[in-house]
Symmetry: C3
Subunit: 321 residues, 3 copies
């Protein structure tokens, strides 16, 4: 009988997290923002118990007990008051403080550079922009409101004055690589690779010159095998940088968001310090996770496996850091 149960918010990658928890023998609890949202998870019979957060996401901080290990995902970062969440007396799987570094544009750049990753030039000053560029407003969710610009005149006509970071737009193809850092098995796993499917930039036909980047889903892809060498090194460097800068070990899933140019140079333009939605593609396995485990293993199950092994060794404090 496992001591803890596993819980998460009803969004983003919760279906895989809950199914993975069950597959590893855990009881599950879901925190849903609305009754309507709860219906989706009921349809999949996803959780043993569901609590509807009648007063909004914030309620999570008050209704979650200390026998629940929370698995944070993108909606935690987008919808919870971050400081309060990080200070709350909750058991949160993974490297809790890394969520702050992910959310703060300056800390984010600092960490990627410290890891020795090739990062596109980035500025907040329109006069110092390298073109083409992509403009990312703070607080933009799911890519909505991002836009690209080819030259200064165009950029000036589009900027609204809201705080934004302006990144050099590297010509190439995007690849999102998800890793899992296991403390229990002391290794770094390359878990899967995907591409985002975005409206309207992925439309088959374009009738306007300002495509948008609203994420509607994810597409599977697999890397040229010779590129794994550099991606493995990048993941290891990131793990080391987290220890160095954040001061605690990297635990669990993270994602490096990259562009590969035509010379096969890899540029990292973002990271996520927790499970990403691209892992939803790989239920019940990715090619890579199958190679490691030889059976069904998706990210939600991988997380639960780590929790179970920590629990059996009375080392929960090692994976909720």
């Amino acid at each position: 009988m496992l001591e803890y149960r596993i819980g998460t918010l009803a969004s983003h990658s919760a279906l895989g997290i809950l199914a993975g928890a069950r597959a590893e023998g855990f009881k599950t609890i879901l925190f849903s923002p609305t009754q309507r949202r709860k219906r989706v998870y009921d349809n999949f019979n996803a959780a043993d118990e569901t609590i509807v957060l009648e007063n909004g996401y914030h309620d999570l901080l008050h209704v979650c007990d200390d026998q629940t290990i929370l698995i944070p995902h993108g909606s935690f970062v987008s919808y919870l008051p971050l400081d309060e969440f990080l200070r709350a007396p909750l058991k949160i799987f993974g490297t809790r403080e890394l969520l702050r570094w992910e959310s703060d544009r300056d800390l984010k750049s600092e960490l990627m550079k410290d890891a020795g990753l090739r990062v596109p030039a980035e500025t907040t000053e329109p006069d110092r922009v390298k073109f083409p560029c992509i403009v990312k407003y703070h607080g933009a969710r799911g890519g909505k409101g991002f836009f690209v610009s080819k030259n200064k005149q165009d950029l000036n006509s589009k900027l609204t004055g809201e705080p934004a970071v302006i990144q050099h737009y590297i010509s190439g193809v995007k690849v999102y690589v998800t890793y899992f850092r296991s403390i229990m098995r002391d290794r770094l796993e390359i878990f899967g690779t995907d591409i985002r499917y975005e409206s309207s930039v992925d439309a088959k036909l374009h009738f306007d010159d300002n495509p948008s980047f609203t994420i509607v889903g994810n597409l599977p892809m697999i890397l040229r095998e010779s590129l794994l060498e550099e991606y493995l090194a990048m993941g290891e460097q990131f793990v080391e940088a987290v220890q160095r800068k954040v001061g605690v070990p990297m635990v669990g899933p993270f994602c490096l968001e990259t562009i590969i140019d035509e010379n096969l140079k890899i540029h990292t333009f973002e990271f996520s310090g927790r499970i990403v939605a691209g892992t939803n593609l790989y239920i019940p396995h990715s090619p890579y996770s199958y190679l490691y485990f030889g059976k069904e293993m998706w990210m939600g199950k991988r997380i639960a496996l780590e929790v179970r092994e920590a629990s059996e060794n009375a080392q929960i404090d090692q994976i909720c850091v």
Copy 2:
């Protein structure tokens, strides 16, 4: 020993249908339009028995016995005389009459609107077109002959005078969502999501301004999890509309063919009232089907499971409506 066998036409999604039937313990029969086509299915050892329809598809109506449950797919809609097929004394899985609504442009629009879906403006009169538009000739198969137009002058130069429906072309990305309505388990399952791969609009480089929409295959994708809430509601509304308008229950697979715009608004521009070819991607499972069943479950197998459960309960009439 199961009372019925399962049969279908040698095209579209027959490999998955037959393999699924076998996996659920059924004997299978294949109706092939030619000897050459039969060879594909023999290569996969797909059927227990194959009948070549020497006089064309139409022969199916005469050679299929009443111990066979036919699983209709896109080729039934494209190649059989619809009225005759629907009146024939055959056991046809699913909501037989819905194939008529799918095939008739006016009935199709009526049903989608009755379901409360957001439908693009549509007209047959060139003067009332909302641009950009897509022109769909009646009887066009697999997207061949469809074209887009940005303005009135361009449209008039391209129209041939054949009967066509002209739809407002919504800017965004397409997502095809397949559902399974189970009578035996009284639930609606979200079974998988895909994108069509079309020549030439999906070509990497374009050398002409009039790309075509001939379907050559399907690409897998997975939805942003928060969008499932609306897609589940849309599926439920569709099921209710079928009961209301067609007058019988929705049974088995159907597909809503949608465009998601940059504001995450979902527009439904077509439906299919039977298995779609996008399900071929998800043999032996989709992420969603795995979440429901925790094992191999593709659409062909799901259909056979429904038939088996109905057969065991002597309720075949409930699933061939």
Copy 3:
């Protein structure tokens, strides 16, 4: 206890090859060009033994013993001295001599034409080019350096004088179809279909008019089922042409690289006479391989299964031709 072990070079599709060999009960050996590369395969615990080729790929010819069956892949073709490799007293799985036909542009065209495939017009003389065209320099690796051109003036301004073949660029979508010719079971299997993911031609936005074709990975897709009829015939014709022109049986995996135009005509512009990287997508199975085997079966495992069956029948000479 199996008599042979299975070995390959540390690149391209080695992870799947080694995992497949293990799944069929073989011991495995990996030949790695560097220590750094070895780390990737160690990370996946991929091989029982690894030899680092301190003096470069060429060393493989000297360190590989005769109890090892080598599985050739794309890196063998790119990095080994071909003549020496083909003459070496090594046990090489598949149709060894076909690697020469794959590497020589003239032999390659000859074989495809002999197989009766529809091949794009091809020339080395800029005056006889059919536009639009794609220029492929000899020895280009992974598509790097390929470019397209719309007209003569543009072409002349881009040609560098290096030896190149100039192919008519067919407007349509690409589909890479992988087959497995089994000698032991005397059949041809359609194993999977994929699309290449290329930088920068697959970039979401283009800021320059000369996109490049550097392969960074592969994307899954599935064919419209009615197209399998022609693809099966094409594969069979290719197998016959190999026997006729190369003078030995086609053994194991090969790939036809095709473009489907808007009239569903299939054009074949390249072939590979061995495992391709697109098979990496389909670990542990593709929809097609699952239909044949009803369980986990990826290309690396399929190869090992063929080797095992040959070994058990003392017919290794039948599959290393």
